[in-house]
Amino acid sequence: MEMLRFATAGSVDDGKSTLIGRLLYDTKSIFTDQLEAVERTSAQRGDEYTNLALLTDGLRAEREQGITIDVAYRYFATPRRKFIVADTPGHIQYTRNMVTGASTANAALILVDARKGLLEQSRRHAFLASLLRVPHLVLCVNKMDLVDYDQGVFDAIAAEFRNFASKLDIGDLTVIPMSALAGDNVVSRSVNMPWYEGTSLLHHLEELHIASDRNLIDVRFPVQYVIRPYSGSHLDYRGYAGQVAGGVLKPGDDVVVLPSGLPSRIHSIETKDGPVAEAFPPMSVTVRLEDEIDISRGDMICRPHNQPSVSQDVEAMVCWMHDDPMRPGGKYAIKHTTRSARALVKELRYRLDVNTLHRDEEAATLGLNEIGRLRLRVTAPLFTDPYRVNRTTGSFILVDEATNATVGAGMIL
């Protein structure tokens, strides 16, 4: 059974919580005691209906204010797939939370209210999903019951969104008319919209082809930890442990190790359960090489004729995640794959308006939730690929060295 991660973006008004509640409820993933607790709290607060948002808005502050602040992770499974839902808030002041939820997602669900059509935030959500290279996008045109299941309304919204999406880098887009409240096209196909020829949302998520979302071409193995048992039968054992970030590794493959550039060959790929014939993302394995060469955490194993870029200069789109703004000249700790170094912001090339996509080249800072293109100089070379080619070797975080807060998320160009 494959695992699929998806992020949802939207506000309570769009019916996002109702949709998630519906998916959880109809797949029998909500438990009786959870539902009773929600019903009790809803009644105490005087809500007119059982507020399913209370299932996910678990923090005291969220319940008090009736809003989603942070990403909540929810889990459900069908006989075909296990799903991890990153439920993210939709408001612009929580852009960083949506970016966080989208960073690991295979799919992003964007909700719009059929009565209102596309809003500024729908475009923003689509842009963020494309920036984070979420491979599959689903536009859920919700509340179709409130527009009499009118195909014309749906077609107009779908056309407008497709037109906007064509300007973004979106690989796979599906548009589904639904009513989360009434259950139309969520788990099963609706009888109210015979004109719709597609599948229900759940069916779509179950069938989505995600195997090709990973990069299986370019071999990238960031060394995470060196295993040296120094004991009994394994006295001379030396293995390089890590999670495959790209490509398929096989015993016998010629490799080079960065930054040294020293060549070797894969002797074996091992796990406690025995050797494996092939390792691919996101497997965690231990690679042994035929030659004894000096390798440590932060090095990268790749193929001789297919190497990442090795550079101390990095160009990236960065989402700022902290109240203290980013200023050119600032120095931060940077973490990229298993490599840590320091980075100096040489230049803010422009700040992007996430609603209009307008580039402000005069901008001097990046504030919380703002996104801009930066040029960085790093104290040690990083082994990178463009983010659009590999989400693992193309991403990094920036950390404030004084407070240790994670302040920026970067996607390498």
Binding site: T32, R74, Q224, A241, K272, A409
Partner: protein
């Protein structure tokens, strides 16, 4: 040419993610420790840690925060497993915290040592200088936990600040902290109860016998089936009953309830878990029933 299918099943994907987390911590921290209760989640955690460093031993000790109110089957299991693996066991004793006056024992028939564990845990983290502590908490267990990071920062008081958590993107974890602060690490964050049981079945991981159906003398109290023993005397008017039960979670005997079940194998339990309509903490934990935000409040103070 054959077309290989490079797909990873959900248990393999979860395992790969957990192993990655273990290795990341071993590489970046000086003194990690794995919190081990003898419950199924910490047993799975230990199993994953073993995989992460094989053929080397687990490069950190295991710590049991011991309330003194244990199921004997669980203590026996703990000692056997630790000896098999050759890892160091540290015991942080709530009884010692009481004896030394660090905490005061609750009184009354519903007294529990559960909240006292926080002080014992934090004292031990300070005493041994641990800078990372692996916990077996899962996000599907409880709504406050659903919001917690895999790397969860704790200040010098051991406090969790849910409104001021570090963003966690991709698989890039920020473990930086100052002296005296530490990180709680949750390698099982994305596992569900069903995943845990499926994995236990697939990997044939041995468990303490109380996880499987057995006959037990119990007392019904506050809607739960508790085990009357030296630590849990009967109240006036209470009567014991005999039932066939198993435990879904394992904690302090004074607040861990049994569930009626005839599931005697892992396969039976997987089927039962898939069909159950109650969450495991809701069904079996008195400590979570205190209020709507009981877990969040305890976590703020430094609880697991």
């Amino acid at each position: 040419m054959t077309t290989a299918v490079y797909e990873l099943g959900h248990l393999d994907a979860l395992e790969a993610e957990s192993v990655h987390v273990f290795r990341e911590v071993a590489a970046e921290f000086e003194r990690p420790v794995l919190l081990f209760s003898g419950g199924k989640d910490s047993i799975v955690m230990l199993h994953l840690a073993e995989k992460a460093f094989w053929p080397a031993r687990i490069p950190f000790p295991v710590m049991h925060v011991d309330t003194g109110h244990n199921f004997p089957e669980v203590l026996e299991y703990r000692d056997r497993r630790v000896a098999e693996m050759g890892v160091q066991l540290v015991i942080a004793s709530v009884q010692e915290s009481i004896d030394s006056g660090r905490v005061r024992e609750q009184r009354g028939p519903r007294a529990s040592r559960n909240p006292l564990q926080t002080v014992t845990l934090l004292d031990a983290i300070e005493k041994y200088g641990f800078d990372a502590a692996f916990g077996g908490a899962r996000r599907d267990e409880e709504k406050a936990r659903a919001k917690e990071r895999v790397f969860s920062f704790r200040d010098e008081f051991g406090q969790w600040d849910p409104k001021n958590q570090r963003p966690e993107l991709w698989s890039l974890y920020n473990g930086r902290h100052a002296r005296g602060e530490h990180i709680r690490v949750f390698p099982l964050s994305n596992w569900t109860e069903l995943d845990i049981w499926q994995y236990i079945g697939r990997e044939r991981i041995p468990l303490p016998s109380i996880y499987f159906a057995h006959r037990r003398t119990l007392v019904a109290r506050d809607g739960m089936l508790l085990w009357p023993c030296a630590h849990l005397p009967l109240l006036d008017g209470e009567q014991t009953l005999e039932a066939t039960v198993r435990y879904r979670t394992v904690g302090d005997v004074t607040c861990t309830g049994a569930v009626e079940s005839t599931a005697s194998t892992v396969e039976d339990i997987v089927a039962e878990v898939a069909a159950t309509r109650l969450t495991e903490r809701g069904a079996t934990r008195a400590d979570d029933r205190a209020s709507e935000a009981a877990m969040e409040d305890r976590k703020r103070e430094g609880y697991f």
